[in-house]
Structures are given as structure tokens and as C-alpha cells.
């Protein structure tokens, strides 16, 4: 599967993020370099505090890195960050929808903010609402929606402008199994549309099932990066979870 992806969408070069406090410095990311390929689902795995959310926030341009660069279309994204933002959709871990607006109004606002022409916006909203089965909630405020539906609205909102890259930060955390499975289908569909997905998760089954490549982060550094199949075969394990456990055990030794 991996060999099919030949075009690099973004290059992450020696990315570092340090948090400076009075008495200590936390190295949340400590020299990450990865190429993310166009159209792949790239799983970011790691224990709590490994740097997954920090990395996805930097890629979403929410926070600046302390050092390093991200290259998109042969240029640093920081040369014209607003242009890069137009190509990215970001679903944070915590739903941050505007609760005073209805689902439809949230989607319309996102569309307008990302420059979707007014003539296309209504159709685009209809299309995405139907795709994520949100019809019955279109006039509801996000506050009344269940966790699963809030996540769907978040994904829908981040896709309204047809981004090339979508960053999903723990999209299924705390959701019931059947809702998780339904969201997995939605994530697989993104791949079919050639949208590159960066999927941050600490559910190993989810990462194994969905990802074309997996990157295991540990204390802000890349521990391993490969396809799930290659990871399992090189560790002679049948499940990714066992690979992960072995890695963590090696770490504690």
C-alpha cells in the first residue's frame, strides 16, 4: 500500500517544540522529520504526553514550532500561513463548535471563512450534511448533540472548503463502539476522495485498521515509522497493540 504513495504533500523538517517554565523545559517535540504523502492516512500514535496533540496543533498552524519547518508546495508554510490554512482542515480533540449557532450556521460560517463562493455554499452544506447524516440536526445547536454527532459536525466543518489535508486529533475518544465504527467509515471515505488524513489516536486497533503508515512518538521523538504490516512483521507480532507494548517495555528497561 505504501509504495502507491509517491507524492509528498508536506515535509516536516526537524520540528521542535519546547515549553519553557521557570525551573524546567519540556521538550514536547524534539526534532521530528517526516514526509506526509498525498492521499494517505497517517496515524500518529503514542502514550499521553508523547507529543501527538502538540504536533497536530503545529500542523494545523495553531501553535508555532520552537524550531524547524513545514514545507508545502516547496515553500515554508510560514512564508504564507494563510494560504496554507486554506488547504487544511483541523478537528481538535475537544469539539469547539459555536454553540450559539445551529449546525447549519456553523457550516455556513466555516464555508464563508474559507472563501467557498456563496453560490456553491448552500449545495456544499447540503452535500456534506447528507454525507455525515446530519439532516435531522441541521437546525439544532451543537450543545444538544451527542458526542458522536458533535464529532461528525466537526469533521463536516473542517471539510467544507475541500481541504487537501485533514488533521483529526483523537476523533473517537470517549465514543461508543458503534459510533467509533461509523466514524471509521467516514475516515476511510476521506481517503477515497484523496484527502490526506493525519490521525492522532491512542486506540491501537483504530490506528491499525485505518492507517497506511503509523508513526509512534515517544517523548517528542519518532520511535518507529512504517506501515502496520511491516511493523507487525518486524516485531513478529500479530497485532499492533503487541508491538506497542513491546516498545513500551523496552523503553522502561
Amino acid at each position: 500500500m505504501h509504495s502507491n504513495f509517491i507524492k509528498t504533500l508536506i515535509q516536516i523538517k526537524n520540528l521542535k517544540k519546547y515549553f519553557f517554565e521557570k525551573t524546567k523545559t519540556t521538550r514536547a517535540l524534539d526534532g521530528i522529520s517526516i514526509d506526509i504523502h498525498e492521499g494517505e492516512i497517517f496515524g500518529l500514535l503514542g502514550v499521553n504526553g508523547a507529543g501527538k496533540t502538540t504536533m497536530s496543533s503545529i500542523l494545523a498552524t495553531l501553535h508555532p514550532p520552537t524550531e524547524g519547518d513545514i514545507i508545502f508546495e516547496n515553500k515554508s508554510i510560514y512564508d504564507n500561513i494563510n494560504r496554507f490554512r486554506c488547504f487544511v482542515g483541523f478537528c481538535p480533540q475537544k469539539p469547539n463548535l459555536i454553540n450559539d449557532l445551529t449546525v447549519k450556521q456553523n457550516l455556513m460560517l466555516a464555508g464563508r471563512c474559507f472563501g467557498v463562493p456563496e453560490t456553491e455554499l448552500q449545495n456544499r452544506v447540503q452535500e456534506i450534511v447528507s454525507k455525515y447524516q446530519l439532516e435531522q440536526y441541521i437546525d439544532s445547536k451543537p450543545g444538544v448533540l451527542s458526542g458522536g454527532y458533535k464529532q461528525r459536525v466537526l469533521i463536516a466543518r473542517s471539510l467544507i472548503h475541500k481541504p487537501k489535508l485533514i488533521i483529526l486529533d483523537e476523533p473517537t475518544v470517549g465514543l461508543d463502539p458503534h459510533i467509533r465504527h461509523s466514524l471509521w467509515e467516514n475516515i476511510r471515505d476521506l481517503k477515497k476522495e484523496n484527502i490526506t488524513v493525519i490521525l492522532t489516536t491512542h486506540y491501537l486497533d483504530e490506528a491499525e485498521l485505518l492507517s497506511d503508515r503509523i508513526c509512534i512518538l515517544d517523548s517528542g521523538r519518532i520511535r518507529l515509522i512504517d506501515t502496520p504490516e511491516n511493523l507487525k512483521s518486524s516485531f513478529q507480532k500479530s497485532r499492533l497493540e503487541d508491538v506497542f507494548i513491546q516498545l513500551m517495555q523496552e523503553e522502561t528497561k
Binding site: 495553531l62 481538535p92 475537544k94 471563512c113
Partner: protein, 258 residues
């Protein structure tokens, strides 16, 4: 979408949301004014206070009403930073992040200003013959009204940047906002303070709310007895830039945005 269009779209959304609570804001402002008028214009004269004192205090309600919006907006912003983090969504939109905060300032200014706009006609109705508008200048009033509102928008951002967490909101109010308010001349003209303690009077030049109070009274009641109107206007502009810049700088550090 151009940056200006996006800026206006976000501002429009803020005002659309505000529209739903505008009636509540009007009632809140009116309750403050009506209570103030009853106490200072109709009860205080019976304990020997001059009748003009009621008008003097009532006119201050306009600046007060705008100023105390700082409390509401800062609390709601801090609650968002600690809770849902809607601000993070706006900080990933294709617009320079500084403009998001400039939008906040303008949005706060409009939300604080709208209810106060209705206070002057209501005040005239309540005070009627006790309030003379012979020296009222519409131009000056419009200028000072806009300047106070924008200053309060910028000041709200600065105050938000000072609040460590939602639990500390009370500290900021008690240690910062109340002293500023009490020493702003809300209950006395600056010239009276100067006649009692020139040092204290000069110290209050550091209080931006002083210029809001004195400027609005000069515009409504006439220049006589108050600090020069244009000096107040200029000082408000200076304080707006200062607090706006400080607020954005401190929030940039706190929210760690690009």
C-alpha cells in the same frame, strides 16, 4: 476570501449572536440608570445633597455602563480559553491572528456601546427639568462615546490576559476594576479632587476611566468644570492602543499562537 471580508464575516457573526441577548443588555443598563437616578436625584437631595449631583452621577452612568462590560467579556473569554476553546478555531482561519483580536476589540466595543446608547434619552426622560442639555454637543458626545467603547474593547482584552483562571476573576475585579472605577471621578469631578489633594488628582491621570468620565460629562453637560474634552479624547486613544497592544501581546504568549 479577502482578509477584510473574513474580518467582517466574523464580526457579523458576533453581532448576530449578540442580537439574541441585546434585550437583556438593555434591561441591565436601564436598571442601573433608573436605580442611580432614584437614589442620587430623588433621595439624596433630602439628605442635603445638591439636586445637580443626581444629574452629574446619572451622566456618569453612560461611561460606567460601557466600562463594566469589561467584567462580562473578560469572564466569558477566560471561560472559553479554559473550556471549549472556540478561540482556537478562529486562530486557524486564513486571517492573521492579530486581526482576530482586533475583531474581538471591535466586537466588544459594539456590544458594550449599544445598551449605553439608549441611556441618554432615558436619562432625559427620568430627570426631565433637572437635566439641562443646553450645553450638549452631539459631535463631542458621538466622538467620546465611540472612543470609550473602543477603549473598553481593548481594555477587556488586556484584563483577560491578566486573569490566570476563572477562579481569579474576582481578584481582578476587586483589586483592579473597583479601584479604577472609584478613582475615575464617577462620584466627584476631577477638579474637586484637585482642590482637596493635588497629588492624588495628578495620580488619577494614570487612570484611563477618568478620561471616559470627564470627557462624557464635558460632552453632555458642557466643558465648564471638567477636564478639556479633546485632552480626554486623545488620552483615550493613547490608552486604547496601549491596552490593545499589551492585551494582544500577553494573549499571544499565553495562547501561543502563530
Amino acid at each position: 476570501m479577502s482578509k477584510i471580508k473574513l474580518f467582517l464575516e466574523l464580526l457579523k457573526t458576533d453581532l448576530f449572536i449578540y442580537k439574541k441577548i441585546i434585550f437583556d443588555s438593555l434591561i441591565n443598563a436601564a436598571i442601573w440608570l433608573v436605580s442611580t437616578v432614584i437614589i442620587f436625584a430623588y433621595i439624596f437631595p433630602h439628605i442635603g445633597m445638591p439636586k445637580a449631583f443626581g444629574t452629574f452621577i446619572a451622566v456618569g452612568c453612560i461611561a460606567n455602563s460601557i466600562f463594566w462590560d469589561v467584567w462580562t467579556t473578560s469572564t466569558s473569554f477566560i471561560a472559553d480559553i479554559e473550556g471549549e476553546k472556540k478561540i482556537n478555531y478562529f486562530l486557524t482561519l486564513p486571517i492573521p491572528n492579530t486581526l482576530i483580536f482586533v475583531k474581538q476589540i471591535i466586537s466588544y466595543a459594539i456590544k458594550a456601546g449599544i445598551p449605553a446608547l439608549f441611556l441618554l434619552p432615558l436619562m432625559k426622560l427620568l430627570l426631565w427639568n433637572r437635566m439641562s442639555l443646553a450645553n450638549f454637543s452631539l459631535t463631542k458626545f458621538s466622538i467620546i462615546f465611540v472612543l470609550i467603547s473602543i477603549f473598553v474593547g481593548a481594555f477587556s482584552l488586556f484584563i483577560t490576559s491578566l486573569i490566570k483562571s476563572i477562579d481569579h476573576v474576582g481578584n481582578i475585579a476587586n483589586r483592579f476594576l473597583f479601584p479604577l472605577w472609584l478613582f475615575s471621578g464617577t462620584n466627584y469631578p476631577w477638579k474637586l479632587l484637585y482642590s482637596i489633594s493635588p497629588i492624588l488628582a495628578y495620580l488619577t491621570f494614570l487612570n484611563p476611566l477618568l478620561y471616559a468620565m470627564e470627557g462624557s460629562r464635558a460632552a453632555i453637560l458642557g466643558q465648564d468644570g471638567y477636564l478639556p474634552f479633546w485632552a480626554c479624547a486623545i488620552m483615550l486613544v493613547i490608552f486604547t492602543f496601549l491596552f490593545g497592544w499589551l492585551g494582544i501581546r500577553k494573549l499571544k504568549k499565553r495562547l501561543d499562537f502563530v
